[in-house]
Amino acid sequence: MNLHEYQAKELVKKYGVPIQEGIAADTVDAALEAAKKLQADTGTGCWVIKAQIHAGGRGKGGGVKVATSMDKVKEKSEAILGMNLITPQTGAQGKLVRKILVAQDVYDGDASLRKEFYVSILTDRSRKCDVIIYSTEGGMDIEEVAHSTPEKIHKEYIDPVAGLQPFQARKVAFNLGLSGDAFKHMVKFISSLYKSYQSIDASLIEVNPCLKTSSDKIIAVDAKINLDDNALYRHPEIAAMRDLHEEDPTEVEAGKHNLNFIKLDGNVGCMVNGAGLAMATMDMIKLAGGSPANFLDVGGTANATTVEAGFRIILSDPNVKAILINIFGGIVRCDRVAQGIVDAYKNIGEIKVPIIVRLQGTNADVAKKLIDESGLKVYSAILLKEAAELVNQVLKD
């Protein structure tokens, strides 16, 4: 699960991470209220209006604006709220901005005394531990920094038993070239950020930029958090922060049926049991001349209800020209899935796109007979190779 910037900042703040203060707003009036409150609380006379969507590169798309007066706060909020924000990460269709963060300006004072850093914490899969990644090159695309100047990316691995040690936090601050108060504040910043990472079961916390202000404070100006979905049961208050507007409505619908569904932009829908086989089936569709319209893993408990729900979700996509059902029956019996297909077909009524059904494994023969005798107009296959050929054939027809 992903969070908005304002939610991420609220979370890390609880663990003592200093943040650029701000208040989320979903109307222009609320934005003005927020700006007034920030002025009263922090003394700021300048505000930053930031679109709250689950995508990076917001500034590039016009989703982040500075306002130097209340009139400007109104003007910028009006412009950003309700806009369709297109960034390098949203895709061409963009994302509707429903919420903005009105934040204090932290870029005051002598510009030569300020410095932007990059700090993130994530799980290192090969070393099986947490790693702090940091760089003096903050405020820009870190992938680009890693590519052009890899020597400027530093990593600090955290021993799972010992945890983050003070010498490690000091090492980070030294490597970032800090001294005096800024050094002390960075040491505290790193240990607080790691504490928050651990406590909320995050899979990624990224602070970019992490700002050294002109008065030597260290502040998270932006924050991105991805959470470990498997651990959400331990954090109901965080799970409640989920913003369904940021997710594809068909994916949300699929989730209600316990289907693991991801919407893609191809022309062949697919329904498969098992994530690996589902990805492999998508690849096969591509090799057969089509392009996958979705990823759908019906899991190990496929039955008539889940199959019907899967059908309806796939058919709601007008781009779908054919559907491939690929089930390798193990614990799941093929005849049960076949019955599900027959029932779903009858319940839904006429399905206009060709359907290719490939059932293999436990009771595959019974299943094939069931489908053949049902009178349904489906193309039936037993080998994966045959299914691929059928995909190719129906797309040509």
Partner: protein, 294 residues
């Protein structure tokens, strides 16, 4: 010899009396696996499926000399179950459970490594040495005995590969489902290494997917040790979009190096016979073994 499990393995089931544990323990017994008992805290001293139930893994080991455990414990308690098995001296721990928090697995992984035992999974279909022992949830009938080893992150794709191998007139020595989570006990390279050193395995099928660097690591190891046995490889997720989790918690493209294309390129450079289509895994293996593909 096969690897990890064989007819001599004494297997216990953790989460024995639960729905999943009962169902699969029954299936394993029918297959002929030497299931010697199970563990369900609080039900020790009773019998289930004609086998003794113990309160702790330590009790089970003491009374049955079990050396293999298979875990069907819910995700919130599964890391604890793994560590209990390791502490009790179980040599091969197979964890089927899907959905264990990453933080719990970081702790469990270290705990298991410190005790020198082998963990397979979690979020995996288990291990099968056909004709000897099935310690997993795979459909046993698909796996016929033979001399091809399989290493795979995915369950149903393992069945698919095994089925194709059998239809190509070959069979399986041991199939190892290593699991699709970001943190797993046995890496692709470690599983491949077991099969490379196994006298009863002539060739290996290595099935990976997007995310992480395990396939590249395995490929480089295979090359550095002189490509001792032929390997056929497939990577699922060539059409997967970046940044999305494709079902498996670990199947997510994070950068340029963990895409299917990047992994396949590295594997091919290391002398692995990489197939583009999952439909030709079996026939490619057959061609490699008969010398049609050099």
């Amino acid at each position: 010899m096969s690897v990890l499990v064989n007819k001599k393995s004494k297997v216990i089931v953790q989460g024995f009396t639960g729905t999943e544990g009962s169902f699969h323990a029954t299936q394993m017994l029918e297959y002929g696996t030497n299931v010697v008992g199970g563990v369900t805290p609080g039900k020790g001293g009773t019998q289930h499926l004609d086998r003794p139930v113990f309160n702790t893994v330590a009790d089970a080991v003491k009374h049955t000399q079990a050396d293999v455990s298979i875990i069907f414990v819910p995700p919130a308690f599964a890391a604890d179950a793994i560590m209990e098995a390791a502490e009790a001296g179980i040599q091969v721990i197979v964890c089927i459970t899907e959905g264990i928090p990453v933080r719990d697995m970081i702790t469990a992984y270290r705990f298991v490594k410190d005790r020198g035992c082998r963990l397979i999974g979690p979020n995996c279909p288990g291990v099968i040495t056909p004709g000897e022992a099935k310690v997993g949830i795979m459909p046993g009938f698909v796996f016929k005995t033979g001399r091809i080893g399989i290493v795979s992150k995915s369950g149903t794709l393992t069945y698919e590969a095994a089925d194709q191998v059998v239809k190509a007139g070959l069979g399986i020595s041991t199939a190892i489902g290593i699991g699709g989570d970001p943190i797993i006990g046995t890496s692709t390279k470690e599983a491949v290494e077991l099969l490379m050193n196994d006298k009863e395995t002539d060739a290996i099928i290595m099935i990976g997917e997007i995310g992480g660097g395990m396939e590249a690591e395995a490929a480089r190891w295979i090359k550095s040790t002189g490509n001792k046995k032929p390997v056929v490889g497939f990577i699922a997720g060539q059409t997967a979009p970046p940044g999305r989790r494709m079902g498996h918690a670990g199947a997510i493209i994070g950068g340029a190096d963990d895409t299917a294309a990047a992994k396949k390129r590295i594997m091919a450079e290391c002398g692995i016979h990489v197939v583009d289509s999952p439909a030709v895994i079996g026939e490619t293996m057959s061609k490699v073994l008969s010398g049609v593909i050099a």
